[in-house]
């Protein structure tokens, strides 16, 4: 099976593709609505702005086929912005609508601290942080509670339905949802393609999940 990585002009798809190749899994970059419809498994990577992400998907005519595939049960992996866009809306620039596959909001980290003093919490949340396992999912097979993953983001997701939460992570006193799982969908805020061995293990899990469920 070939995993289809959706190219909508946001983020480094090559690194995701190379990571799949590294674990012996064929991965192709796709751009058209028909390719989305035909894909046996989809990966939506992405970094950057939420609004641009939605507009680019829209411009390529990918929103309808993507939502249809998600509802139809096509195995799906969302990474970073590719997770956030699944939500109802983002607080970025007032309020920007998302795909509304998962009910909830995307919020910006907010830390109150006086400039020039010690202990400022930096935004973006950038670097390696640990994930706390909340529920089991095939994509998390063999991933230890407290495993380190690489993050880079200023916004985080807040789902209405707590049962979708797969892992949480703490940053600057804020415990946020670092991955979600619902039926055919697994999506994470961290970057498995940049998280060395543990990240490759997660991608391998997704490939197996896509193949066998």
């Amino acid at each position: 099976m070939t995993i289809a990585i959706i190219d909508y002009g946001m983020g480094n798809l090559r690194s995701v593709q190379k990571a799949f190749e590294q674990i012996g899994c064929a991965a192709a970059i796709i751009t058209t609505p028909q390719q989305v419809r035909d894909a046996p498994a989809l990966v939506l990577p992405g970094v950057g702005a939420f609004g641009t992400c939605y507009r680019n998907l829209d411009r390529q005519g990918l929103i309808e086929p993507l939502c249809a595939a998600l509802r139809r049960g096509t195995p799906f992996l969302g990474i970073c912005l590719g997770m956030q866009i699944l939500f109802t809306q983002s607080e970025e620039f007032g309020s920007t609508p998302g795909l509304d596959i998962i009910t909830g909001t995307v919020k910006r980290f907010q830390f109150h601290h006086n400039p020039g003093t010690a202990g400022r919490i930096k935004i973006p949340h950038m670097g390696w942080n640990t994930v706390h396992l909340i529920k089991q999912h095939p994509c998390l097979n063999g991933i230890a509670d407290g495993a380190w993953f690489y993050f880079v983001h200023s916004f985080y997701v807040s789902p209405e339905d707590a049962t979708v939460v797969a892992t949480t992570t703490e940053y600057g006193g804020c415990v946020f949802v670092s991955s979600i799982a619902k039926d055919n969908i697994f999506a994470c805020q961290f970057h498995p393609e940049k998280s060395q061995t543990v990240g490759l293990a997660l991608l391998k899990n997704f490939a197996a999940f896509a193949e066998h469920g």
């Binding site: 480094n12 400022r120 930096k122 935004i123 973006p124 390696w128 942080n129 983001h153 940049k194 998280s195």
Partner: protein, 257 residues
């Protein structure tokens, strides 16, 4: 808890590492990809390639290096050196870099930082600041001055004010090098690091001067850095990345081990 990052830096000239890992196990000490694989296995948190190739034409070599590295190493890779415009940034990102570091071009054309952040996202735009302590800081002369062209040209710009400016323009991170400390192995400029780190809300990478594990500790504990960049102490195998992280953990710094 977010870990403090340890970032080895490799100087690359014409596609070859200039000051690489001084280590017999390495197949080819001059190959940036072999060096990257080595540091990946050692548990480095990120990697920086600094292209010091003199001629612009020969910089294409760097794209091949980045491409080969990205196929082998699955950790964040920052590439800097000679980046002039958004096309250079796009080329490096497409080759597989996760972040691109801009220095001289940002000073010459600050709008480049804004355009790059808008086009590619703040998370991949690092502004490198080379700062030198002024001999007599006063109301006219800033405490630290920004230098460009690899530290050869003074600009009269206050490094702390410049850090704030690039944050406003959309930089996602600052790579802060003390020219006074660079190469001395006497420790980072703690006061500079702390002053800049407190002046902005984006992460600050301390650079220049690491000679011992205690220096790394100081950069975090006293300099309030989010990450440290080091070259010599790792390349010459004085310490491994693991030694550094174990030392930091023993001293209460959160690291990924």
């Amino acid at each position: 808890m977010l870990a403090k990052r340890i970032i080895p830096c490799l100087d690359v000239k014409d596609g070859r590492v200039v000051k690489g890992v001084n280590f017999v196990d390495l197949k080819d000490a001059g190959d940036p990809v072999d060096n990257a694989i080595f540091y990946d296995r050692e548990g480095a948190d990120e990697l920086v390639f600094l292209d010091i190739t003199a001629s612009y034409e020969r910089r294409k070599t760097m794209l091949t290096v980045v491409e080969r590295t990205a196929a082998e190493v699955f950790m964040p890779l920052t590439v800097g050196g000679g980046v002039r415009n958004t096309q250079d940034i796009r080329d490096l990102l497409n080759a597989g870099a996760d972040k691109v570091s801009i220095n001289t071009a940002a000073v010459g054309n600050p709008i480049l930082v804004q355009q790059a952040a808008e086009q590619f996202g703040s998370q991949c735009i690092v502004v490198a600041i080379d700062a030198r302590r002024a001999r007599q800081p006063d109301s006219e002369n800033p405490a630290w001055e920004v230098f460009i062209h690899g530290g050869r040209t003074p600009t009269g710009i206050d490094a702390v004010a410049w850090a704030r400016t690039v944050e406003t323009l959309g930089a996602g991170e600052i790579l802060l090098t003390s020219m006074d400390c660079d190469g001395t192995q006497d420790g980072y400029d703690i006061e500079l690091t702390r002053t800049v780190s407190r002046a902005v809300t984006i992460p600050v990478i301390a650079s220049g001067g690491a000679g011992s594990l205690h220096h790394l500790y100081e950069a975090f504990a006293e300099g309030e850095a989010d990450a440290v960049l080091a070259a010599s102490i790792f390349h010459y195998r004085a310490y491994s990345i693991r030694d550094a992280k174990e030392y930091l953990r023993r001293n209460g710094i959160s690291v990924r081990l």
